[in-house]
C-alpha cells in the first residue's frame, strides 16, 4: 500500500549548507508519527518542505504516490496538507473567526457546521470568536493555529512543536486533541522536542540529527531505547 506521505532521499539546502540530507520518512494513513530531534536538527525544515514552503534540492515528496514537491505552497493546502507552523503564527489583528476563515481560503465558503466542529474541539475559541487573535493566551493561540489548519480539511496535519512554551496542563489538553483529531480520521505528523510525551502519543517516531534520520522505529521501541532516553528524555546514562 502506498503510504499517505513519503519523503524519498530529500535534501534541502539553505545556500550552501545542507539542512536535510537523504531524508526518508513515511507516514501511513491514520497514524500519528513523531519527528524528534535537538534544536537545529532540521525538523521545521522537514515540515516546510512537505508543505511547499521550501523546495528540496534532491529527492521527492510524495502524497498518496503523487509528487508534490514542486507545487506552490498555497496549492499544497488544497491537496490536503494542513500546516500548523512553528510559533503558531496566527494573524494577530484578525479575529478568531477571520483566522479560521483564512484557513478555509482555498475552498471558498465556510459552513456553520465546519465552524461548529472546530468550536467543539476548542470550546474556548467559540467564546473568543470575535476577539483579536493577538490577544489570546499562548495555549488559545495554539488551538487557533490548529483550528485554522483543520479548516482546510486536511488529510494530513503537520504540527510543529505544538507544546512550545505552554504550561503542562495545556500541553496535555493539546495532546488529547491531537489524538482526537487522528481518531476522526486525520493523519498526523508532529514535531516535538518534548520527546517523552510525543512518543506516548505517537505510533511511530523518527529521530533527526544534523539533518539526517538516525533512528526510525515504533514509538514504544524508541521510548525504551537507551540512546533516545539519554539524548532526548533527559535521563542520565544507566
Amino acid at each position: 500500500m502506498t503510504p499517505m506521505l513519503a519523503l524519498v532521499g530529500v535534501e534541502v539546502r539553505y545556500g550552501a549548507i545542507p539542512a536535510l540530507r537523504e531524508v526518508d520518512i513515511e507516514v501511513r494513513q491514520g497514524e500519528i508519527v513523531a519527528l524528534l530531534g535537538a534544536n537545529g536538527a532540521g525538523k521545521t525544515t522537514t515540515l516546510r518542505t512537505i508543505s511547499g514552503l521550501v523546495r528540496p534540492s534532491k529527492g521527492a515528496v510524495l502524497l498518496n504516490g503523487r509528487r508534490v514537491d514542486q507545487v506552490p505552497a498555497h496549492q499544497v493546502v488544497g491537496l490536503g496538507i494542513g500546516h500548523v507552523p512553528e510559533g503558531r503564527r496566527i494573524f494577530p489583528r484578525m479575529s478568531v473567526l477571520e483566522n479560521l476563515q483564512i484557513g478555509a481560503y482555498h475552498r471558498r465558503g465556510v459552513t456553520q457546521a465546519e465552524l461548529d466542529h472546530i468550536f467543539e474541539l476548542f470550546p474556548i475559541l467559540r467564546e473568543r470568536r470575535n476577539q483579536e487573535g493577538g490577544t489570546l493566551s499562548g495555549g488559545e493561540q495554539q488551538m487557533l493555529a490548529i483550528g485554522r489548519a483543520l479548516m482546510s480539511k486536511p488529510q494530513l496535519l503537520l504540527l510543529d512543536e505544538p507544546s512550545m512554551g505552554l504550561a503542562p496542563l495545556v500541553v496535555e489538553a493539546i495532546f488529547d486533541i491531537i489524538e482526537r483529531i487522528r481518531d476522526e480520521g486525520t493523519t498526523v505528523l508532529v514535531v516535538e522536542q518534548n520527546a517523552a510525551q510525543a512518543l506516548q502519543l505517537a505510533d511511530r517516531g523518527y529521530v533527526l540529527e544534523n539533518g539526517s534520520v538516525v533512528m526510525a522505529d515504533d514509538a514504544e521501541t524508541l521510548l525504551g531505547d537507551e540512546r533516545v532516553r539519554v539524548a532526548y528524555l533527559g535521563e542520565g546514562a544507566a
Partner: protein, 467 residues
C-alpha cells in the same frame, strides 16, 4: 536620551540627583542645580537649541558684506517663534508621553469609539456619508475661484491618489515609494493619446477615451514592476519602487524627442462629450472638473470599500499580517500583492489623466519622488488601511497650506510648511500612531453572510451584545 519608558523607569533623575555636583560647590542643592540635573529641563534646552539651529539653517544666508545677517535675519524674525513653539511642542510631547500615556490612550480610545457611539446604526452612518456628499456637492458652488481650484487640484486629485496608495500600503502592507511614477505614466499616456506629445499617432483621442488606455498602461507598469519585485521583502520593495519612480521622472526629463523633456508637454485638451446631440466641454473652469472628480472618487470609494470587505480584502489583511502563514493557509500571496500593487498603480494613472486634462500642461518636475512621499504622508496621517482616513487625511492636509496661504499667521512662512508638517507627523506618531481616522479592523464585526451562512445574523447580534 535617558531611558524612556514606563513611569516605573522614571527615576533616571534619581541617581543623577544623588550625584549632583551642587553638593560639592554649595552645600544646598540650589534651584539652578536642580534645574540643570532635571532630565526634562535638559531635554527642553536641547530641543530649543536644536530648533534654533534649524531656524538659522533654513533661514536667509549671510553675505560677505554682512556676515552675521544669516543669524540676525533668522533669529530676529517673527518666524523664530514658530521654531520656539515647535521646541515647546516636542518637549511637551516627549515629556507628557511618559506621564500621561495611559490618559492619552484612554482619550484616544474614546475618540475612536465616538463615530460608533454617535452612529451605532449602519443606516445612520450611511445617512451621514450621504449628508457629507450633499455638502461636497453644494458647498463648492459658493466659494471663490481660488478655493474651487484648490478643491480640484489640491484636494480632489490628492484624495484620489491617497485612496489608491491606501490599497497598496494600508491594505496589502506594501511600502511603495515610487507611486508617483504611475501618476506620471497616466499623465503622459493622456498626452500621448491626445496627440500633445512630440511623438504622436496619426489620430488623436478625446481625453475621455484615454482614461482606460492610461489606466491600462499604469496597471501594466505596475504588474511588470510588481511580479519580480513583490517576491522581495519589504525593504527591498521600497528601494526598488523608489528607484523606479526616479527612472520614470528622469526618462520624462531626458527623452526630449519623445516626452518634450524638461519643457514638458503643452496643449493637452480638455475632456469633452459629443454624444446623442449632447455637447459639452470641460473647459477652464474648475467646477465641472470638480464634479467629474467627485463622481469618480465616490465610485472608487464604493468599489474599494466592497473590495475591502470581500475575500480579497481578507486575503490582503492576512498577507499584511504574516506572509508565510498566509501562504501556508492557502492564500496566493504573490497574486494578491500584485493585485494590490496594480490597483494602486491604476488609480494613480487615472489621477494622472485627470490632472493632465484639467491643467493641460505637464512637466517632469510634477512627478518627483517628493510627491510619492507626500502621498504616503497623507495615507499615514489619515490612518493606514482606512478609507475615511485617506479621504479626510488628504483633504485636511492639502487644505491647510492653502488656508495658510490666504490667512498667513504671525511669522508663518510658506516655504517652511514641510518643516511643520514633518513636526506634526512626528507628534502624531507619538500620540496617535494609528492616524486620525484609523481603520475599524479591531472592532470589525464579522459578517459570515458573505459565505451564505444561515446563522450569520445571530453571530453579528452576539457581537453587538458583547461590545
Amino acid at each position: 536620551m535617558t531611558a524612556p519608558g514606563t513611569p516605573a523607569a522614571r527615576p533616571p533623575a534619581g541617581p543623577e540627583a544623588g550625584a549632583q555636583p551642587a553638593v560639592t560647590w554649595d552645600e544646598r542643592p540650589t534651584a539652578w542645580a536642580r534645574l540643570v540635573s532635571s532630565v526634562d529641563a535638559r531635554r527642553a534646552f536641547a530641543y530649543l537649541v536644536g530648533f534654533l539651529v534649524l531656524a538659522v539653517m533654513t533661514g536667509p544666508s549671510g553675505s560677505s558684506s554682512a556676515p552675521t545677517s544669516g543669524f540676525t535675519g533668522s533669529l530676529f524674525n517673527p518666524r523664530v517663534f514658530w521654531f520656539i513653539g515647535l521646541a515647546v511642542v516636542f518637549w511637551g510631547a516627549t515629556t507628557a508621553r511618559h506621564r500621561y500615556q495611559a490618559r492619552i490612550r484612554a482619550w484616544n480610545d474614546s475618540v475612536l469609539a465616538l463615530p460608533r457611539r454617535l452612529m451605532p446604526d449602519k443606516r445612520v452612518r450611511y445617512g451621514f456619508y450621504l449628508a457629507l456628499l450633499v455638502f461636497a456637492i453644494i458647498y463648492p458652488m459658493h466659494v471663490s475661484g481660488f478655493w474651487q481650484q484648490v478643491a480640484v487640484q489640491q484636494i480632489g486629485v490628492y484624495v484620489l491618489l491617497t485612496v489608491g496608495l491606501n490599497v497598496v500600503v494600508g491594505y496589502a502592507g506594501l511600502l511603495d515609494l515610487g507611486y508617483v511614477a504611475f501618476y506620471a505614466i497616466g499623465a503622459y499616456s493622456a498626452a500621448f493619446w491626445t496627440g500633445a506629445m512630440p511623438v504622436h499617432l496619426p489620430f488623436h483621442l478625446n481625453p475621455f477615451w484615454t482614461i482606460p488606455l492610461a489606466i491600462l498602461a499604469a496597471m501594466m507598469a505596475g504588474v511588470l514592476l510588481g511580479v519580480p519585485t513583490l517576491r522581495l521583502r519589504g525593504d527591498y520593495l521600497a528601494i526598488v519602487t523608489l528607484g523606479f519612480g526616479e527612472i520614470v521622472s528622469i526618462v520624462a526629463q531626458n527623452l526630449t524627442s519623445i516626452t518634450g523633456g524638461s519643457g514638458g508637454v503643452l496643449g493637452i485638451p480638455h475632456f469633452s462629450v459629443n454624444l446623442l446631440g449632447v455637447h459639452y466641454t470641460w473647459g477652464l473652469g474648475n467646477l465641472p472638473y470638480y464634479y467629474l472628480l467627485l463622481a469618480f472618487v465616490v465610485l472608487i470609494l464604493v468599489l474599494f470599500h466592497s473590495l475591502e470587505e470581500s475575500r480579497v480584502g481578507r486575503a490582503w489583511t492576512a498577507v499584511r499580517e504574516d506572509e508565510v502563514a498566509a501562504e501556508a493557509s492557502g492564500v496566493n500571496v504573490l497574486k494578491y500583492k500584485v493585485m494590490a500593487f496594480a490597483i494602486g498603480a491604476s488609480t494613480s494613472g487615472f489621477a494622472g489623466v485627470l490632472t493632465a486634462s484639467q491643467v493641460g500642461y505637464i512637466e517632469p518636475q510634477d512627478f518627483t519622488y517628493y510627491l510619492s512621499i507626500l502621498i504616503l504622508v497623507l495615507v499615514i496621517f489619515g490612518g493606514m488601511g482606512s478609507l475615511p482616513g485617506a479621504v479626510v487625511g488628504a483633504a485636511v492636509l492639502q487644505w491647510f497650506p492653502e488656508f495658510l496661504r490666504l490667512h498667513p499667521l504671525f511669522g508663518f512662512q510658506q516655504q517652511d510648511l514641510y518643516i511643520y508638517l514633518g513636526a506634526l507627523l512626528i507628534v502624531m506618531m507619538i500620540f496617535r500612531p494609528e492616524g486620525i481616522l484609523p481603520s475599524k479592523r479591531r472592532k470589525r464585526e464579522i459578517g459570515l453572510a458573505e459565505h451564505g451562512v444561515g446563522t450569520a445574523d445571530a453571530m453579528t447580534t452576539t457581537t453587538a451584545e458583547i461590545q
